[in-house]
């Protein structure tokens, strides 16, 4: 059965399915980048972290037979890459944007280098929760196959939003991002705060990569990522540096990405690729609308290198 038998209803259904499936890596990468940027640092290298996460998760799952161990290792690898980025950027006069691009190249290169032996064999995948058991329509059942990581992602977004607002640690992260002087006045170590925030952000991105190789599309190859790591930066701006809005924005980006193929399946093929550009045009429009010649984008942490 294909979508055409459901008529036009297939389009929103496919978008829902896409939003849930495609958005999970976006949720992890963008919530992680959100934390990093709130601490006043930008990490453009998450693309490399994501691919390294995908490779290490797949390799570990293949060797150990346990996909969840793979997810854990991916988080660890992401943590290390995040710490590397933070450590380098902490040196005086080092540009964090260029370093991020350098680490993006390093991470993807290293993943393809070390991951060469894992391209052929098939690793065990993560399993999903069947939330569509009540329906007899296969599309609905398929759309409601929800992976555990999606739920973990939602919880992390909520937890981060709460922690930033209500905990002492959250306050220090926000201070490090808004004003180094204020953070120093409170006796907080800006460097250590950013190191922790960037490392955790990297760990999130690693898990996002694990989802790619262990669930959807569920294999390891050199085209595993279609730029989700770099897109996260756009997503965080789109969400104006709020973890919960990052989650909604990730759903929206996922759904928008699914719109093209869904329309194609009901026979609308022209302009299909222009829909893919929609999230970026929207992000750019939001930046234009919320900035002015006098100040940078609203809600942008003041210490970000791109806010100056």
């Amino acid at each position: 059965m294909d979508n055409t038998s459901l008529g036009l209803w297939g389009v929103p259904l496919a978008m829902l399915a896409g939003a849930i499936r495609v958005s999970t890596p976006f949720i992890f990468v963008s919530v992680g980048e959100c934390l990093t940027e709130r601490s006043g640092r930008i990490n453009l290298g998450l693309e490399g972290t994501l691919v390294m996460g995908a490779m290490s998760a797949y390799g570990v799952a293949l060797v150990s037979g346990s996909p969840w161990l793979g997810v854990l290792v991916a988080a660890g690898v992401g943590l290390l890459l995040g710490a590397l980025h933070a450590g380098i950027c902490q040196l005086p006069r080092v540009n964090d944007i260029a370093t991020g691009i350098g680490l993006m190249l390093f991470g993807t290169g290293l993943a393809f280098f070390l991951g060469k032996p894992y391209i052929q064999p098939k690793a065990p995948n993560l399993d999903a929760i069947d939330l569509g058991w009540w329906s007899s329509i296969p599309q609905v059942r398929q759309a409601l196959q929800v992976n555990y990581l999606f739920i973990v992602g939602i919880i992390l977004a909520f937890a981060l939003a709460w922690a930033l607002k209500n905990t002492r640690w959250g306050l220090i992260v926000r201070l490090a991002g808004e004003s180094v002087d204020a953070a120093l006045a409170m006796g907080a170590s800006v460097g250590r705060t950013r190191l922790i925030a960037t490392s955790i952000g990297g760990a999130f991105a690693g898990v996002g990569g694990a989802f790619l190789s262990l669930y959807y599309p569920g294999s390891w190859n050199e085209r595993i990522s279609s730029g989700q790591g770099l897109m996260a930066v756009a997503l965080v701006i789109f969400a104006r540096w709020d973890p919960m809005r990052c989650f909604y924005a990730a759903l929206l980006f996922g759904g928008a990405g699914a719109l093209g193929p869904a329309l194609q399946s009901v026979g609308i093929t022209s302009g299909y690729h222009l829909f893919n550009a929609a999230p970026y045009i929207l992000t750019l429009a939001i930046m234009i609308a919320t900035s002015s010649a006098k100040h940078s984008a609203r809600d942008m942490p003041g210490e970000l290198s791109m806010a100056k």
Binding site: G102, F106, A111, A234
Partner: protein
């Protein structure tokens, strides 16, 4: 004089450190003798006339895309949308080439170059203009524009400009063999290399010897001072971004008119992102861009030999490039730290 010695010593130290890290990776993970690997890399990059041609061909697009970051960087702007400018340039070149395909080849080539440079220039000038008049961060807007450019390319390549006979890899109609820009006589290296080297030379002369070039340097040093001097900052921002984008667009035209013969997804293979790093490694200096691009082109060219002789994955050279970039960027912090290089006063 000691300061200029430092400028060579610090990057050399970073390169040495990168080689050690990469060598350890090869020795420990791949069980390959690092010295043998480095010897092979030298052979694959610069060891023969054949290797040199491969290296120079790879360097050509990097020189042109690096200018897209280097020119605005002189004025304190950080553009990373090189890939997008290259892609729109390539599509515009293909469209122009198809439109006037029956004209004399020289006219077609000129039309392609002009179309590519206008498209790429407008693309980056948009990011510069948004920064100047709306306060939109140019780094992020140029990155977003890259994604929009790739979507536009896919739209044109699979839609209005598609050659129906390109089944497996959707492409535009070919521009025709007669209209290709060809290779430098006596070599297999295409003319894109000459475009790049000439562009770097002209820009250096411009920055060094013209009032406009000096004005840009003043703006990069301190925009407030520049405004108080009565300089029209906005105009120079548009000029620098537009020119930078135009060169990246020209890189796209070269890819179409010298390599592929048509526009397709092969345009977006990362020359733009590598160009950013070439510009940073050259510290945005137009004359330094050429040797840096040749060095990186050489590392890329040596991948094939490493794969054939030592059975290393072709990504090995990408790892080395990544390590070099990170090491050199991190080495920025070393300037002024060594007492040895400090100029003695009094």
């Amino acid at each position: 004089m000691t300061a200029s010695l430092e400028r060579i010593a610090v990057p050399a130290l970073a390169l040495l450190a990168s080689a050690v890290v990469f060598g350890l990776l090869l020795a420990i993970y791949a069980h390959v003798d690092p010295l043998e690997a480095f010897a092979l890399m030298y052979q694959g990059a610069f060891g023969s006339w054949f290797s040199w041609q491969n290296t120079l061909t790879r360097a050509a697009p990097l020189i042109l895309t690096a200018l897209c970051t280097a020119l605005p960087a002189r004025m304190g702007l950080m553009i990373i949308g090189n890939e997008g400018a290259l892609v729109v340039g390539g599509v515009a070149a293909a469209a122009a080439g198809i439109a006037v395909t029956n004209a004399p080849p020289l006219i077609v080539q000129l039309a392609m170059a002009v179309a590519a440079m206008i498209a790429g220039g407008a693309w980056i000038a948009l990011a510069g203009g948004l920064r100047q008049w709306r306060g939109v961060n140019e780094t992020i807007s140029s990155l977003l524009l890259t994604y929009i450019a790739i979507a536009l390319m896919n739209h044109f390549v699979e839609g209005p400009l598609r050659d129906p006979s390109s089944l497996n890899k959707p492409s535009t109609w070919p521009i025709g063999d007669a209209n290709m820009i060809g290779t430098i006589p006596g070599t297999d290296v295409h003319w894109g290399l000459v475009y790049g080297v000439v562009a770097c030379g002209v820009i250096w002369l411009f920055q060094r010897f013209t009032t406009w070039g000096f004005a840009m340097q003043v703006i990069g040093g301190n925009p407030k001072t520049a405004r108080m001097m009565g300089l029209d900052v906005g105009r120079y921002v548009l000029l620098a971004c537009g020119a930078g984008g135009a060169f990246a667009g020209l890189a796209g035209m070269v890819e179409v008119a010298a390599v592929h013969g048509k526009a397709n997804a092969s345009l977006a293979v990362g020359y733009g992102y590598s160009g950013i790093l070439v510009s940073f490694l050259a510290r945005h200096h137009p004359l330094a861009i050429v040797p840096v691009a040749i060095l990186l082109g050489g590392i890329g060219a040596s991948g094939g030999l490493l794969q054939r002789r030592l059975d290393l994955p072709d990504a090995a050279v990408v790892v080395l490039q990544g390590i070099i970039f990170v090491a050199i960027l991190a080495s920025e912090t070393l300037y002024g730290r060594f007492k040895f290089f400090r100029v003695k006063e009094g």
